[in-house]
């Protein structure tokens, strides 16, 4: 399966969809930031609100309260290079929403381009979304353990390189989240991304699992990067390295080198 999937919505399309009132836009920034200004007609779902309880039942309630049913196209944005938006988008996918994409750019860039913003909170009436849990896009620590000896499963660590060198889940390969973005978009072009994965021998023949430091944001972005390059057989280890360490599971480290001392931070 290497067919590309549309994972982002471009600025021009979103603006026209907003005019046509044919989209639900979710701003995942903090409430205070949202109240100051946001993309017109967008609704606010701060990531922290979602994460405080991300059980399917709770998520479904939140989705309903945002006026989203099974047919509503949803576009998500943030001001954190797409990582927070990705985590929210993935969660919608997980409970069974099929039409969710990321805005191709950040809110900061949207504003710096001088595009319209608003401080009004739209009136939203509740909708009924069905529950159709997509467990095939979720990886748990048990699942990771169960596939560790399979060589058709690729585990990708999206933290920064030094963190990876210091400690990672055995067998994981390093793909820092910064690798995924372009200079003006949250994701690089499909061609760039495909070439990068092809160089790494990461192909559609494998199942791919992404993880990052704690709550699946950076790895959420990687989940969408992989999808955009046609690698759709991808799962997010949403509890990520934080859980793995808390569970005292084995880790690997790059030994006998003082790489931290090369950093100018």
């Amino acid at each position: 399966m290497t067919e590309s999937v549309k994972v982002t919505t471009d600025i021009d399309s979103l603006r026209s969809e907003i005019r046509d009132n044919s989209v639900r836009v979710i701003d995942v920034r903090r409430e205070g930031d949202y109240k100051q200004d946001h993309i017109p007609n967008s609704v606010n779902l701060p990531l922290a609100t979602l994460l405080s309880d991300d059980s399917p039942e709770r998520v479904l309630k939140l989705v309903n309260s945002l006026g989203i049913d099974d047919e509503t196209p949803v576009v998500v944005y943030d001001d954190t290079f797409g990582a927070l938006a990705s985590r929210v988008a993935w969660t919608l996918e997980w409970i069974g929403h099929s039409d969710v994409t990321l805005l191709e750019t950040t809110y900061g860039n949207w504003k710096s381009l001088g595009l319209e913003t608003d401080s009004l909170t739209p009136e939203i009436s509740n909708k009924e979304h069905s529950m159709n849990l997509q467990s095939n896009i979720l990886a748990t620590s048990e699942y990771l353990e169960s596939v560790k000896s399979r060589d058709d499963v690729i585990l990708i660590d999206n933290r920064e390189r030094l963190n990876y060198l210091e400690q990672h889940i055995p067998g994981a390969v390093s793909l820092p989240y910064r690798t995924l973005a372009s200079s003006d978009g949250i994701l690089r072009s499909k061609e760039d991304m495909k070439r990068l994965f092809d160089n790494r021998d990461i192909s559609g023949d494998s199942e791919i699992i992404t993880y990052c430091g704690s709550v699946g944001t950076l790895s959420g972005l990687a989940y969408y990067a992989l999808k955009s390059a046609g690698l759709s057989n991808t799962k997010l280890y949403v509890r990520s390295f934080k859980e793995w360490k808390n569970l005292e599971k084995p880790t690997d480290k790059q030994q006998d080198a003082n790489y931290w001392d090369l950093s100018a931070e």
């Binding site: 381009l113 910064r178 003006d184 160089n199 790489y259 001392d261 090369l262 100018a264």
Partner: protein, 607 residues
Amino acid sequence: MNFIILSISKLTPSSVDSAKPKINWARIDEADNFANTVKLYRQGKYDEDSFRRFRLQHGAYGTRMTSDYAMVRVKLPAGEIYPKQFETLSRLSEQYSIGSAHFSTRENIQLHWVILEDVSEIFRSLAEVGLTSREACGNSVRNVMCSPLSGVCSDEKFDSTPYALATAKFFLRNPMAQSLPRKFKFNFTCCEKHGMVRMVDVGLIPEIQQINGSKQKGFKIFLGGGLGNRSFVGHQLEDFTPEEDLLYTSIAVMRIFDRLGDRKNLARNRMRYLVNDMGWEKFQNLVLKERAIVRATQSVVTKLKVDTTPDKITRPLKISDEGGSSVPDGYARWLKSNTIKQKQSDYRSVFITLEAGDITSNQLNSMAALIREFSSEGKARSGFVQNVALRYVHEDDLVKLYSRLLETGLAKSGGLTMTAPVGCSGTTSCNLALTNSHRLAKEIQRKFLELKLDEDDDLADSSIKISGCPNSCAQHGIATIGFFGGGGRLGKDMYPNYQMSLGGRFDADTTLGQTCLRVPAKRVIPVILKIIELFKANKQSDDTLKSWIHRIVNDSEDSDIKSIGDIKKVLEPLVAPPTKEDDPDFYLDYGSDTSYHTKTGKGECAA
């Protein structure tokens, strides 16, 4: 309604660069070729040795204790680097490296801990801004260096930068330079004081001679020097080499090295060994004869394409000037120890000091902005000591620049003094390293700046250089106080240790330092401070540390401290190892919390 919406998603903020690179060093097809070759190698269709040669030829060096990572060494010929190039390197350091990059001592900028499969992606991006890492490693002509002050130095006869660039251009990808017995290095300089021409295969100082009443440009050429496991000082070929003989001489020297250089004994195959084994006079004659042959047998006149069109010097326009002229703390200290007056009136060259050459991706971006805002030549130059020079800064803009440097963490003082030590990458990434020389250099700098030693004029012309092994990547042999790493032992317990040498220098009196004694890593700082104390107690009124040590190593000092042996006697009590029970920290290297042991892999740069 769609038709009325302007398509603006392609808009990106544009920046205007006044200066653009004159030479494109890159070839985009080398990125594809590298990617494909890595694939073949991973599939077992390329043997280990051939792949290593290929990888090195393209500027990707091995990494400590692993074959999964490479270090990409990007060449900055003549040290020149432009704003867009800084921005690209910033992005690449975040995407494929550790969020920092590293300036070397040979005007390269290095990206470490890069996954081998990503190296071609770096090549691709470098090509967009005209940079290459081709022949930055391997048995080729390495980056052609030029003094960061060439063109602005008040002691230079003329600007050698165009000659350095032309030489780099001539030999890059040149078939005659693809399979030399070993690496080959050119250093151009401005004057005796600012270059390192006697510790390199070919060193060149610009010179002007009156010939038949007219001024003739040329060079003083030094051959056969070099630092390494064994170091040698170069010899001057002849009084004066006219500029039209520059290329013929270079080709002649390389042909001799190619023909007679040792291709078997990896430990002794740099040209300096050939010169030493043969004897200088014999080698010199050979070069002069070979040059006559080269000159006579070039079927087409081979010439360097020297572009001496002067750079445009335009003081950047200030869009907003806050007007507030308050001078930040530390400005005078920084001005004195980090800037040099240029021969062009009203302009200074500003040296930006990094910790052992390391720079964050944010700082790389800041450099691009600072060049655009402050440099009237619109580019920067990397230096000889893991630093960067921002030149053509107008005197009136220095306070403003200093404030901006403070904001970006680039305002460390002491850049042109002993408080900015050179440290090779050591155990942070190099296979050969025995100690964390890189961190030690940072520790010394932090301590010495805290002690404000950068304000001490007596220490300004001295240098500290620290290599993590006997091979001289940090050039310890020409330091006033030089160190190279090894292991020490008390009973069964090992500790990181350095061999210290004193009295090295790299000016007109280039000398290799003399071995003094072994200093444990955790005693290096107290030992240097003790040497400074000895100097202060015994110096003559106009002495600097450098001149004092110079007299000692030349047996011409008659105070209480007359010899290296006398210094050693004073220092010996400081270096005695305590037991592990008494001082466990002594047995740990900097940056490490597990007990020290020497561990090395296979080297690829030196013996």
